[in-house]
């Protein structure tokens, strides 16, 4: 038995294609630390350069958001599941603003 970490589809290419990985870890920080040492490519998608969890990454332990528990110090035990959940958001440009620079090519004039 160990702590199971569920890896969302966008991060699987950086985790050898795996949907889950298991680690012996006593809290979230340890589990994610082991995950990113095994799969170094995951690190920049989960953590900022300062080493903090990115704001667009939600982490749940057994269905509970760690923001409402003890953050990365949230304790884990054998049999627990850590779910990494990407935050999904977006939307049209502000009124008057055009699209992103990267996507502006080919955009036609619009009435706003």
């Amino acid at each position: 038995m160990a702590v199971k970490v569920l890896i969302p589809p966008p991060l699987r290419p950086h985790a050898g294609g795996q949907a889950a990985a298991e680690f012996a870890a006593k809290n979230v920080e340890e589990a994610l630390g082991q995950l990113t040492s095994e799969f170094a490519g995951l690190k920049r998608h989960l953590f900022t350069e300062e080493g903090r969890l990115r704001s667009f990454v939600n982490v749940y332990v057994n269905g509970e958001d760690i923001r409402y528990l003890a953050q990365e110090k949230t304790p884990t035990k054998d049999g627990d599941t850590i779910n990494i959940i990407p935050s999904i958001a977006g939307g049209a440009p502000e009124n008057g603003a055009k699209g992103s620079r990267a996507a502006r090519v080919g955009m036609t004039d619009q009435a706003v």
């Binding site: 589809p9 998608h45 958001d65 049209a92 699209g99 992103s100 996507a103 955009m107 706003v112």
Partner: protein
């Protein structure tokens, strides 16, 4: 993904219409939902499009600015993942509408997007759905690759 990879995504005419209807139904607010499907584009040496096989329509959680923002609650992401898993599929992307704006990713879209997922955008002008496009964020997050949408139908193909 490396430059030169032609990315393609396929869906039935019915699903394409459903995305448009959802955008019209929620107009002037943005609609959103998950794309359930399969990505076998890298299997077996044969280049294949990513397939969307079902939609999982969601409620836009951005009550403060729903006309130009959408947000999916983490619990909705979990539910979409479970729905996909129950059908032997994956969440391969997300769709949303741009009311009275072109079907092009905004800067806000880019800063909030994840690599790998397909992001379908449908433009809804004055309540009528128009152009539909699909985008994948590049791994360095600097820009998008546009995916070619292949609608599986003989008649009335892509827009």
């Amino acid at each position: 993904m490396s430059a030169g990879d032609a990315v393609r995504i396929s869906m039935s005419q019915e699903l394409a219409e459903k995305i448009r209807w959802h955008g019209e139904e929620t107009y002037p607010h943005e609609c959103c939902g998950a794309l359930l499907g399969r990505d076998r584009s890298r299997e077996g040496g044969e280049e294949r499009p990513r397939e969307i096989l079902e939609l999982y329509p969601l409620v836009n959680r951005r009550e403060d600015s729903p006309q130009n923002r959408f947000s999916v609650a983490p619990q909705d992401v979990i539910d979409a993942d479970r729905a996909a898993e129950a059908r032997g599929l994956d969440v391969v992307g997300w769709y949303h509408s741009h009311p009275d704006h072109p079907a092009r990713p905004s800067e806000y879209d880019r800063t909030h997007a994840w690599p790998w997922y397909s992001y379908i955008i449908v433009s809804v002008a004055k309540g009528a759905a128009g152009e539909m496009t699909s985008w994948r964020l590049e791994d360095d997050r600097a820009g998008y690759a546009e995916e070619r949408i292949e609608v599986r139908s003989e008649a009335k193909a892509r827009t």
